[in-house]
């Protein structure tokens, strides 16, 4: 019966770029790499999280990162997360919690109970780490709680928790007033991580190597932005569907030459496509922005569905570098750790100044407005994943503010007297509701119904638009 009850395998998503199509094997390679490293036993392996700006430290210390969010995402994409989620539930964890974490904890518990990988573990499974680096950031509780919960099943695996806060946008305060002590704190936290890794690996940090790696990821960072900026072209050569693949080198491979080379290739491919006038969609009718939320990894084919209606996604706010480093105006420093800390703060506070200038705006809204302008966006699509508060709370509010402060679209409507009258409409938006990996929260029929109706909404605005 287990067979029949399994979810149907997802249809393969069509990619617009060759680069995106090459991602699958790359992911498989680094997962296989962790299995190999564990078998060889020469390198230490660490559970850790993305967007912490600490991968350079790992790589400089030859520690192999195991990206636990990535593994959960893979289980989701393979539509094989449910059995791990259920295990976590049976431990007493509510399904309303971060499903990435539930999937990871369920997997860990199973692997530790068996003393080997659970049967048919996706891509060989997630190996037991030597230690876990959690990061109690300001925006994600599970990043601190997940490994703490996993430790119950791996009591001998130590946790090191680094704290990486950033100042929240506050109306009554210029963030520059506090950056100094935030920076001092983050530097100390990162140095603490170095000390922990030194102790665990019994090796000293090679700061020259770290400097080189930081430089490599900085260059990659700028290259990514240059590459993604090419998507401003009409028609757009690559959409968010592909970007959900090309996020892999951004989030799991930074500070490697491979990631840099990947974007060199991608940039070339996009330039060629633009030269040929090739778009993600054959006849591009609408340009949409993925304006918030992580995707449902098991339903990436929804992007193809959008494409089939003539809708392209030239830009997304998820998995992007926020802005090129050169625009961030970071203080000069020779110390790579100090630089990482500045870069971290620059990343989170980039939109603050711009937001302060527009009444009623705030950084997330400001970013939406800028992207709408730069990429000539006709509508915003967001995803509210029930299990993740980090990225999915505040979206309704952002749309609310966007409608309030962003320039409205003049359209003709039928007035009370039956005559046409000019009124103003906000940019159309769609919120999809599901989850990152919990497929039980997803209905393809409903989702596609919503997409259909949204496309018709875009069409109607276009038809009634008062030039």
């Amino acid at each position: 019966m287990a067979e029949e009850q399994k979810e149907a395998k997802p249809k393969k998503r069509m990619t617009a770029t060759k680069a995106a199509a090459s991602i699958g094997p790359m992911v498989k390679e680094f997962i296989t790499g962790t299995l190999q490293a564990r078998a060889e036993g020469k390198q230490k392996l660490a559970y850790t999280f993305i967007v912490c700006h600490h991968e350079e430290i790992f790589r400089a210390m030859d520690v192999v990162p195991i990206w636990t969010e990535n593994f959960a995402g893979i289980c989701g994409a393979k539509r094989d997360a449910e059995r791990f989620l259920q295990r976590a539930e049976s431990l007493g964890l509510s399904r309303s919690l971060c499903t990435y974490a539930l999937c990871g904890i369920g997997f860990d518990q199973w692997r530790e109970e068996l003393g080997q990988m659970p049967p048919d573990a996706p891509w060989g499974g997630m190996v037991k780490p030597d230690f876990m680096i959690s990061s109690g950031q300001i925006l994600c509780d599970p990043r601190s709680k997940w490994y703490q919960a996993s430790q119950q099943f791996m009591p001998d695996v130590p946790i090191y928790n680094i704290d990486l806060p950033y100042p929240l946008f506050q109306r009554d305060q210029d963030h520059r007033e506090v950056l100094g002590y935030y920076h001092r704190y983050i530097v100390k936290q990162l140095r603490g991580l170095v000390a922990f890794l030194e102790e665990q690996t019994k090796k000293k940090m090679d700061y020259d190597r770290l400097r080189e790696l930081v430089d490599l990821s900085d260059r990659t960072w700028n290259l990514i932005e240059e590459t993604y900026d090419l998507r401003k072209a009409i028609p757009c050569p690559m959409g968010t569907g592909d970007a959900m693949n090309t996020m892999v080198p951004i989030n799991f491979m930074m500070a490697t030459q491979k990631a840099y080379d990947f974007f060199v290739e991608l940039k070339k491919e996009l330039e060629e496509k633009i030269a040929r006038g090739e778009g993600e969609v054959e006849n591009e009718k609408y340009r949409l922005m993925w304006g918030g939320g992580l995707p449902s990894w098991f339903a990436l084919t929804d992007f193809n569905y959008f494409n089939s209606k003539g809708a392209s996604f030239p830009v997304e706010t998820t998995y992007r570098m926020v802005a090129p480093l050169k625009e961030m105006d970071l203080p000069e420093t020779k110390d790579p750790i100090e630089h990482l800390a500045w870069r971290w703060l620059g990343y989170w506070t980039f939109w603050y100044d711009k937001a302060r200038k527009r009444p009623g705006s705030e950084p997330d809204v400001e970013r939406l407005i800028n992207r709408i302008e730069e990429y000539k966006i006709d509508g915003v699509v967001m995803h509210e994943a029930f299990s993740c508060r980090t990225w999915h709370v505040g979206l309704i509010w952002q749309l609310h503010q966007l409608a309030k402060i962003y320039k409205p679209i003049p359209v003709y409507v039928v007035g009370k007297d039956g005559k046409k009258e000019k009124v103003y409409r906000e940019l159309p938006s769609l919120i999809l509701e599901s989850d990152i990996i919990d497929i039980t929260s997803y209905s393809e029929v409903d989702t596609r119904n919503k997409i259909d109706a949204f496309i018709e909404t875009l069409e109607s605005i276009r038809m009634n638009r008062a030039a």
Partner: protein, 386 residues
């Protein structure tokens, strides 16, 4: 088994039922009231700035309607209720709101609060996730930023002397809460769990001096009972986040149990730890709020090196309360969508097992509508341990 209600407890009930009426009065007299949520806001700073801190409360009887139009429903239901009441102008007497980094729900909805509500003052206090030297340093800076922000808003300097004086008043308050808890130790307890939580909740709507007076009066009034009129029943500890209403406790007590101890935010977690008066005030506050408020949000390094040692370290205070108040069972009450507490359910379960204390885990959504469903579970649990 009826408890007599004297003057002090009648005042408590009124403050509880018409939550905020005293703050409204004070506002009318020209006082400034600053709202806050969570146990991490250093109230001493607000008080020292001349304003009156007021804990924003939810209401489980009020369906969440308006709040849901601005805030996702995947936010902690308790916090959604607080927001809903705020946008419905229930707390119109506030001059501002302070929100700390208590959990994701607070962080991610901060702009919704600060732009969606009409108050003129908003401040966010960042709380470190770890407890170590660098985080105490950082937190001291963050407290100084908060101090400056209050000074700017109220146009008044907060001196160290004033702060030290206020710290002592708050410490007195914590001693008085301790005195209230002492009344729970008799078997059956002299004060019911409902009365105690109602008293603490009422206190969180008052200026600290008035709360201190009120607690004194309640202690005197309850002590005057001499012996408990209550029937003996299983002694229960309640563990979880913020429980600012009495319905769950009343349910336990209606079914024959007694709530005699807790590890909840507006109970022991918030009210027991005192501030060290021998340290410079900001340093002392930084240590009190970061280290002594034992919230799952804060990570404390596992020094024991074993899981059992770790849970003893993390939850030791709960075990101590259970022992001190002779609890016979625990109810772990966790809101849906609560990541900090939600992820600890298996570990807390293991901890209660190690104490040999039966535990009932309830996941709830902060609504009076679910009390019927909880009733059967609680009754069955009391039958199980009774």
């Amino acid at each position: 088994m009826e408890l007599t209600q004297g003057k002090a407890l009648s005042t408590v009930e009124r403050l509880y039922q018409d939550y905020g009426f005293r703050a409204r009065e004070l506002k009318g007299q020209g006082e400034k009231i600053i709202g806050y949520v969570c146990s991490f806001v250093p109230l001493e700073l607000i008080k020292a700035s001349g304003a009156i801190p007021f804990r924003i409360r939810g209401n489980i009887f009020e369906p969440i309607t308006k709040g849901d139009t601005l805030l996702e429903t995947i936010v902690c239901p308790y916090y959604r209720s607080c927001f809903d009441l705020s946008v419905k102008d229930k707390y119109e007497f506030l001059s501002g709101v302070v929100i700390p980094h208590g959990c994701d729900s607070m962080v991610r909805s901060f702009s919704t609060w600060s732009y969606g509500l009409p108050y003129s003052y908003f401040h966010f206090v960042n709380i470190p996730t770890v407890c170590e030297e660098s985080s105490f340093e950082f937190f001291e800076e963050e407290l100084n930023t908060f101090r400056k922000s209050l000074e700017k808003f109220f146009g008044k300097t907060i001196t160290d002397e004033e702060l030290s004086r206020v710290i002592r008043i708050y410490n007195e308050n914590r001693e008085k809460v301790r005195a209230l808890y002492e009344l729970r130790k008799a078997d059956p307890p002299l004060i019911s769990g409902t009365e105690l939580t109602m008293t603490l909740t009422a206190g969180s709507s008052l200026p600290i001096e008035e709360a201190n007076d009120l607690f004194d009066q309640v202690v005197a009034e309850v002590k005057a009972r001499g012996s408990s009129p209550l029937k003996k029943g299983p002694r229960i500890l309640i563990d979880g986040a913020c429980l600012d209403h009495i319905e769950l406790i009343k349910l336990v007590e209606d079914l024959g149990g007694h709530v005699v101890a807790d590890a909840i935010c507006n109970g022991a977690r918030d009210h027991f730890p005192k501030t060290d008066v021998t340290l410079p005030p900001i340093k002392a506050l930084s240590q009190r709020y970061l280290d002594k408020v034992n919230c799952p949000k804060t990570y404390r390094a596992n020094k024991a090196g074993t899981f059992e040692g770790d849970i003893a370290n993390r939850f030791g205070d709960i075990g101590a309360y259970a022992k001190e108040f002779k609890a016979e069972g625990a109810i772990l009450y966790v809101y849906k969508y609560c990541d900090p507490f939600g992820f600890e359910v298996p570990a807390r379960k293991a901890y209660y097992q190690s104490l040999n204390l039966p535990m009932l885990h309830l996941e709830d959504i902060y609504s009076a509508g679910t009390m019927g469903q909880l009733r059967t579970r609680i009754q069955a649990f009391l039958e199980m341990i009774g």
